[in-house]
Amino acid sequence: MRNVLLSAASLALVSLSAATPAIASPSKKALSQAADTAQESSTTAVSDKAVSDKAVSLVIEVGGIKKPTGQLLIAIFDSAESYGGEGDPVASVAVPVDADMESLEVELPKSGTYGFRMFHDIDGDGAMDTNPLGMPTEPFAFSNNARASMGPAPFSAVQFDVDGSATQSVRFR
């Protein structure tokens, strides 16, 4: 069993400085944005959604990993707008996958409502692989184990509250 403790901001910076070939540019950009977002939010005023500006912990238990290779890429959002593409995630996380992986812990800037989606980047190229018609071919999942149905699960299905800490058990189909 291996548990990974991550701070979203620090992880993003570590990943960037490591600059491994496994992290492709789109992810670097996302991670960089995530780092900026995280650092900004730690110094900004409490938003109406957040109930506290104290850093909180989100534990994500991951099941259904098919191959112990590559990385998990997770994007965490705090609003339906950013989740829907109008804005950046509050955190973007990249975690190497190995056979012992069971859970990971992400530090979030404050208590509040969040939702995330993640995919298993099996070949570690930093991007969701697709078939020639653009359909995703790497496993993906959503918080609350919400399921996509002919489109991504909506924010209303993936949102959950974090009050000091929270645990999400998510399984790839």
Partner: protein, 506 residues
């Protein structure tokens, strides 16, 4: 990839951040299918409340479970010597769960039938393809997964096309594997003997979920061409006789016409773009298609050696599901047959109404010869004969042939009562009419002991409404009107199939 015509729509920059966009692109608007009318379905209760259902409704009856192997009873005749092998046939057979029903004939779960012939005996077994759709719907005790004409219902999980795969349209044995075919997703591997489902066929990891249509066409060397329709994008598959992938190229079509079948000559693939065109991403598929007859029908002739080399022909609007083998003459003239309708109302409306026990009375398709000339002109020659499910002698793939085998004899009912072999030399249709008590399914052409077309056999099935039993028949290709050489009757009435293939014993 080959040239500009074959440029794929790749989305290589897919990240978690834009996952929603990619999912949206291949999928449908939730609001769209939410707006579809609530399902009005022929549940057992509705059926019982009305008048006695028409006898043909046995052709779309619901099957609850697999059919164990059993010996069929010989009704009459003698089996031709040397005719040994297995006729596999596939078609939808599960339409009802709980108080809900599939909304379209094309959306029932695929039940693979296996008719094994040898030493004068025939055995029948049948087994459902165990798909994610079937598992979801069994767990929900409701038909919830969307399809060609069925809208998604509460609780459906469709994360990729194979979550909706009904595996219900056709079957091919390819490279030693038995594949149940649908047209919106992957082929499904089944054990050729036990019909146990073995999983989806992925020809290469990066080709998961790419549609592999129910109408592959086979070269004389056993290799196979197929397509996967995806709106304006279309995948062209080439599979070796050993079942391994040769190529899978994406081509872009000039318009997003829906098509179910294609045909080919030795040198060309022929894609008929009827003006039934995808104009939205609504689900189910029929809701995304508009009939735009003013745009006419376009026929693409694509060079097999260079998919970017395409010629286009124009014809007045017609609709069609099925075409027969094509050939090319010395001056470049291409000829092939199609079963053509004035419009797509069968697929749009009638095939939904069938599951409610009603026949919408739409016109049946007519056998036509289509000719494409090297000067760029195209003509249609209607034979006047009603015809669907055209088949022919596979040994003549890409060659001129005389016979097109087809079902016919509809009367005022939705399903045919007869099988015919149309002779293009004489212009005569030799027909075996099984009578109103039989619903006739596609007949496959099986080569006989000589190279002559008329020495082959036609093997196929009927649903005997009076005996309430599925029957298996063999006819002589040259003497169709003489009726079956031999017929067997099973002890079950199975709903109608779409397509089959005969695998001759080694």
């Amino acid at each position: 990839m080959k040239g500009a015509f074959g440029r794929a729509v790749f989305h290589t920059s897919f990240t978690v951040t834009d996952m929603s966009n990619t999912l949206d692109r291949r999928a449908c608007l939730k609001s769209a299918f939410a707006a579809m009318s609530a399902a009005a379905v022929i549940t057992p209760e509705i059926a019982l409340a009305g008048a006695a259902p028409a006898d043909w409704t046995l052709g779309v009856a619901d099957v609850d479970r697999d059919i164990a192997p059993h010996r069929m009873t010989r009704i009459h005749g003698r089996s031709p010597q040397d005719l040994a092998g297995v006729l596999y046939r596939n078609g939808p057979a599960k339409f009802l769960r709980g108080s809900s029903a599939a909304e379209h004939w094309f959306d029932g779960d695929g039940l693979m039938r296996r008719f094994a012939l040898g030493e004068g005996e025939a055995m029948l077994s049948a087994r459902f393809a165990e798909t994610p759709k079937r598992r979801q719907e069994a767990a929900a005790n409701a038909m919830i997964v969307p399809g060609f004409g069925t809208a998604a219902r509460e609780g459906a999980v469709v994360e990729n096309p194979d979550d909706a795969n009904a595996a219900n349209t056709s079957v091919i044995k390819l490279g030693g594997e038995l594949l149940a075919l649908w047209e919106g997703g992957s082929a499904v591997r089944m054990d050729a003997g036990t019909l146990e489902t073995l999983g989806f066929k992925t020809f290469r990891d990066d080709l998961a979920y790419v549609p592999f249509s129910a109408h592959p066409r086979t070269e004389p060397d056993g290799s196979v061409w197929n397509f996967g329709w995806a709106g304006r994008s279309c995948v062209i598959w080439r599979i070796g006789a050993d079942g391994t992938l040769i190529s899978a190229d994406v081509i872009t079509l000039p318009r997003a016409s829906y098509f179910h079948d294609f045909t080919m000559t030795k040198r060309h693939l022929i894609v008929v773009l009827q003006p039934w065109i995808q104009t939205s991403s609504y689900m189910p598929v029929v809701a995304s298609l508009d009939w735009l007859p003013e745009q006419g029908t376009r026929i693409l002739v694509i060079d097999k050696d260079d998919l970017s080399r395409v010629r286009s022909f124009e014809l007045p609007a017609f609709s069609a599901f099925h075409f027969a083998d094509a050939w090319e003459e010395a001056d470049g003239t291409i000829r092939f047959d199609g079963c053509l309708q004035d419009d797509p109302s069968f697929g749009q409306v009638a095939a939904k109404e069938l599951l409610r026990g009603r026949w919408a009375g739409v016109p049946h398709p007519v056998l036509n010869r289509i000719t494409l000339r090297s000067d760029g002109t195209a003509t249609l020659e209607p034979t006047g004969h009603l015809a669907e499910f055209p088949t022919s002698d596979a040994r003549r793939s890409g060659e001129r042939r005389r016979l097109t085998v087809h079902v016919t004899g509809y009367g005022d009912a939705p399903f045919p009562h007869a099988v015919g072999a149309f002779d293009w030399d004489s212009g005569r249709d030799s027909v075996c009419d099984f009578g109103r008590d039989h619903l006739v399914e596609e007949f496959c052409y099986v080569p006989g002991n000589t190279a002559r077309e008329e020495d082959g056999w036609l093997i196929g099935t009927t649903l005997n409404l009076k005996a309430r039993a599925t029957e298996l028949h063999v006819l002589s290709a040259g003497r169709v009107a003489a009726g079956p050489i031999i017929s067997w009757r099973s002890n079950v009435a199975l709903p109608l199939t779409f397509h089959g293939s005969f695998v001759q014993a080694a």
